[in-house]
């Protein structure tokens, strides 16, 4: 049935794992009180919403996303004569009808191809004091990861603006998971904020319900530093902020999962931000006490469950979770890495550094990582992997459900698209999220016993 030869890489993408730049409308609607306006064909907003925010953990559209999003729904006339007037009309009406602190205009393929001057239309409104910015996010220009950085940059440059006042010691802007694309971003950002506050920081988390909305964004320039907590996403933003506001940044590629990694992360931040070490250690100690209390209970199961547990794993997903999970599975649980495939097409310039993280995943464990976006090729690679004497546990997406069955292994859907997970506040990172992750992994495994 399957041709097991991995054919040469082509342009084809079967079973997508990222979407296009206009999907960064979710980066706008992820900020409380912000509503995106899209200037594109009639189906674009629905496509991005239904796939990123609905059939991916059933997260929901929230206040200003989903079916709320104003769209020009461009028609043939807008292609032939340009869509500028239609956009102007829609912005006017949106201001009249919708209650938003900030509008973010995003363009699609049609506008970017016919060359609408969206900037000058948006400036007309900015000049009248309307809180509105724009980003050109035509689908052929990049994916939703690069679109996210475009939207962030648009808000910083066009809305937050210049600042040369004093900085607030002990405050940080966090740039981490991609909202909505990462199925667990809401719970995860909550945990990141919680632990950073625990060591004494004031945290601008910026996205999600823990964010204070545009007021928090206006505080970005006042922060002492930027924290980029991801393998590469957010680095461009941090460099821009370094230039624009003279803010230093700390780059931590591994999103921490579990006691060991999270404590190390917090000590790194404490050191960088020159926080009160004693105070931070009190927090770390208390968190570890809780964490290891539960881990001790879990250890009875982990040490002597009769019916076998997976010994090798595969991770298929974007680099943020991929690296974080690999680190946790290898170092906390002692599971053997089988195959890691990164799927979001990270810019070439970051790949060597990402690879190095895998090669040094533990003092005594060497592994590697591959970059592939096409699920057909990804599944062939997994099929060709030798997982040893028993089936692996696959950390992947809905696309791997049948593959896991074929391998007689277990599947944990941890990334886009996760169409068979319902996710509200669940987190898989930090101290608390790690415990939830353990519950998920082993409920899946044990649940398949009989």
């Amino acid at each position: 049935m399957f041709n097991l030869e991995v054919s040469h890489k082509t342009n084809s993408i079967q079973q997508i794992r990222y979407v296009c730049a206009i999907a960064a409308m979710h980066s706008a609607s992820a900020i409380p009180g912000v509503i995106p306006i899209v200037h594109c064909g009639p189906g674009c907003a629905d496509k991005q919403f239904m796939n990123l925010a609905f059939y991916n953990g059933f997260q929901g559209g929230g206040y200003g996303g989903g079916a709320v999003v104003p769209s020009t729904n461009s028609r043939e006339l807008d292609v032939v004569f340009g869509g500028e007037n239609r956009l102007r009309e829609l912005i006017k009406a949106s201001i009249k009808i919708l209650d938003a602190d900030l509008f973010v205009v995003l363009t699609g393929c049609i506008s970017d191809l016919v060359g609408d001057d969206v900037g000058s239309i948006v400036r007309e409104f900015q000049d009248q004091g309307v809180s509105i910015v724009y980003a050109e996010t035509g689908g052929f220009k990049g994916n939703n990861f690069t679109g996210h950085e475009l939207v962030v940059r648009a808000i910083i440059d066009q809305y937050v603006g210049d600042y040369d006042g004093p900085k607030k010691q002990g405050s940080v802007n966090v740039w981490s998971l991609l909202p909505y694309h990462n199925t667990f971003w809401r719970g995860d950002l909550t945990e990141i904020k919680r632990i950073l506050e625990g060591i004494g920081l004031t945290v601008n988390i910026l996205f999600g319900q823990e964010s204070k909305g545009v007021a928090e964004w206006r505080d970005i320039p006042k922060a002492q530093f930027n924290l980029v907590l991801s393998p590469w996403l957010g680095l461009q933003t941090a460099k821009h902020l370094e230039d624009k506001y003279g803010q230093p940044f700390l780059h931590v590629p591994v999103i921490p999962i579990g006691g060991k990694e999270t404590s190390a992360f917090l000590r790194k931040v404490t050191h960088f931000a020159e926080l009160d070490i004693a105070k931070a250690e009190v927090f770390i100690k208390e968190e570890e006490k809780q964490y290891y209390h539960y881990l001790e209970g879990f250890s009875d199961f982990y040490a002597e469950y009769w019916w076998g547990l997976p010994a090798k794993f595969a991770v298929i997903g974007d680099s943020g979770y991929n690296l974080a999970l690999t680190k946790f599975l290898v170092n906390q649980l002692g599971i053997i890495p089988g195959k890691q495939i990164i799927t979001e097409n990270p810019p070439e310039e970051y790949r060597a550094a990402i690879r190095k993280q895998y090669q040094t995943i533990a003092e005594d464990v060497f592994t590697d990582v591959e970059f592939e976006e096409d699920s057909y090729a990804i599944h062939q690679k997994i099929r060709q992997t030798n997982f040893g004497h028993k089936p692996p546990i696959v950390f992947g997406t809905t696309w791997e459900r049948d593959l896991a069955k074929e391998l007689k292994g277990a599947i944990v859907e941890v990334g886009f698209p996760a169409s068979y997970e319902v996710v509200l506040s669940r987190s898989y990172i930090g101290y608390r999220g790690a415990l939830t992750l353990l519950e998920k992994i082993y409920t899946t495994t044990v649940g398949a016993s009989a």
């Binding site: 997508i16 709320v68 201001i95 004091g129 809905t398």
Partner: protein, 512 residues
């Protein structure tokens, strides 16, 4: 008017049928203004589109495009591959339609698998130099990977604008691979309503898959549907008829034999209009011209017409009598339980006409409903298919009947006007707003749920289930804020902006 199968590009709904997407008034008035009721309209409208007055306002929210409908039809043919010739964003749809495909297969007891859809992933340089080579490559990949019986190609807004020669590449690859390679022209900007995407898929199937020298199968009935549960097999077995389900979850072989059937039926004329008419025109497969099979009146008439066309009148009468008697006791109970309840339907056009009929059979009051678009006439142009007139004549008028293409901002006012206890929906985006207003929704994922005699009972039971959900929605409504300004929420007329812009803007609003 003849369906034109000569060109690879389908004529849009608005060109063929005069489709509109914004209207507000009484259902009876809309039916009068539509082509059927005006009888011979050739003098005023010409050969093609009927003209209905349509509103157009400045504010619109994201809708749906034709390409999405191609994905959910051509992308769900089991031994075919669909290629999306587009940037990666159009590929987003692979997620939802895969989930629907898998769940649909499971519902139909077919082997569950991921759908076969490939995106050509066009980038900026392709916008400059064209995407032809990538399309050709993806067609080869599709062949190498899946050895499909058919390859469909969906175009996109981007390829429509840059003008890739999709037809030329398809013809060339068809010769090389010796299987049908079918371009489906479905650029989102080309039609104001996404149902044109249904027609685009059906156009391609009739042109390039359906057997041109059919061997008639006198007991085979084409059922044009989506992923719904298999209720037609037992129902048609009562008449000694076999079912050929198309397009979703069908095989290419099922599509090939469309021309051999004794008749074509559907669950909704919005979906089946084009292909049913084309099959009759090209291959003499009669389309059943009757009300849709909803409620007693519709189902009785539909079965009788199907029986007449397939020469099975006696069997039908016996079945009809048995079914009436069978469901009567529970129906009486349901009517009692649902007494005084008010419902609202928000679905595709012809389907809504059917659902309102079922609600009224159940004794549920329906003061208002909306359809996403309205076709003044279907492709057959046969008045026996006038589903709106059937509704109004048999079940009475709907005083607040609106055409609104998934515009959530209007939905608030539309619901306030009639204050329903629950809504029936298909398609996403509206139920979340109703929920925040404290109103539960029954999402009809299985489109066959309310069809036929058993469908009356099914819908009644489902309404009882969702009325219980009211607790959840009312609790939520008390703790949530809508994104609309109070000024808008206070508007009595959900179409006020369209009416204002027609009169000319009186005053510019202040922006800040």
């Amino acid at each position: 008017m003849k369906i034109n199968l000569k060109t690879p590009v389908v004529e849009s709904r608005e060109q063929r049928l005069g489709t509109i997407i914004a209207w507000d008034g009484k259902a009876a008035d809309l039916s009068k203004e539509s082509a059927y009721a005006r009888g011979n309209c050739e003098n005023t409208c010409g050969d093609k589109a009927r003209r209905l007055c349509e509103m157009e306002g400045p504010f619109t929210q994201g809708s749906v495009c034709s390409e999405q409908m191609v994905e959910c039809q051509a992308g769900h043919v089991r031994n075919a591959v669909l290629i999306q010739h587009s940037p990666i964003g159009c590929g987003a749809g692979q997620v939802i339609y895969n989930s629907i495909y898998r769940n649909g297969l499971a519902l139909r007891n077919l082997p569950v698998e991921n759908q076969h859809v490939i995106c050509t992933n066009l980038l900026e340089e392709d916008m400059v130099y064209g995407g032809a080579a990538k399309l050709e490559q993806s067609i080869r990949d599709a062949w190498e990977r899946n050895h499909p019986k058919v390859i469909f190609i969906a175009t996109s807004c981007a390829t429509g604008i840059i003008g890739d020669d999709v037809d030329g590449i398809a013809s060339q690859m068809e010769v090389e691979l010796k299987i049908p390679v079918i371009p489906l022209h479905c650029e989102g900007f080309k039609s104001k309503h996404w149902s044109t995407g249904f027609d685009a898929t059906q156009h391609g199937i009739v042109r390039q898959i359906v057997r041109k020298q059919p061997k008639k199968q006198e007991d085979l009935v084409n059922v044009i549907n989506l992923w719904g549960s298999d209720i037609f097999t037992p129902m048609l077995a009562e008449l000694d008829l076999r079912v050929n389900y198309v397009i979703d979850l069908a095989t290419v072989e099922d599509l090939e034999q469309l021309s051999e059937a004794a008749a074509t039926v559907g669950f909704c004329y919005t979906l089946s209009s084009y292909m049913a008419a084309a099959l009759e025109q090209e291959f003499g497969v009669p389309e059943i011209k009757a009300p849709q099979p909803y409620g007693f009146a519709g189902t009785d008439a539909w079965l009788r017409e199907l029986a007449r066309v397939t020469n099975r009148v006696e069997k039908a009468e016996a079945y009809i009598a048995r079914e009436h008697a069978r469901i009567a006791p529970r129906l009486a109970e349901l009517r009692e339980l649902l007494k005084g309840k008010k419902g609202y339907v928000a679905t595709g056009s012809a389907y809504a006409h059917g659902l309102i009929a079922v609600l009224r059979e159940l004794g549920v009051e329906v003061d208002g409903s909306l359809v996403f678009h309205h076709d003044p006439v279907y492709d057959s142009q046969d008045p026996r298919q006038d589903s709106l007139v059937h509704l109004v004549d048999n079940y009475g008028d709907v005083p607040f009947f609106s055409v609104s293409n998934r515009q959530q901002h209007q939905f608030y006012g539309l619901l306030k006007r009639v204050n329903p206890d629950f809504i029936l929906i298909r398609h996403n985006g509206l139920a979340p707003l109703a929920s925040r207003m404290g109103i539960p929704a029954a999402p009809l994922g299985d489109e066959h749920h309310s069809l036929g005699y058993q469908g009356i009972i099914n819908l009644g039971e489902s309404i009882l289930d969702i009325l219980a959900h009211k607790k959840f929605h009312q609790d939520l409504a008390a703790h949530t804020k809508l994104p609309y300004k109070q000024w808008w929420l206070d508007q009595k007329d959900p179409f006020v902006l369209a009416k204002e812009s027609k009169l000319g803007n009186k005053e510019e609003p202040s922006y800040v």
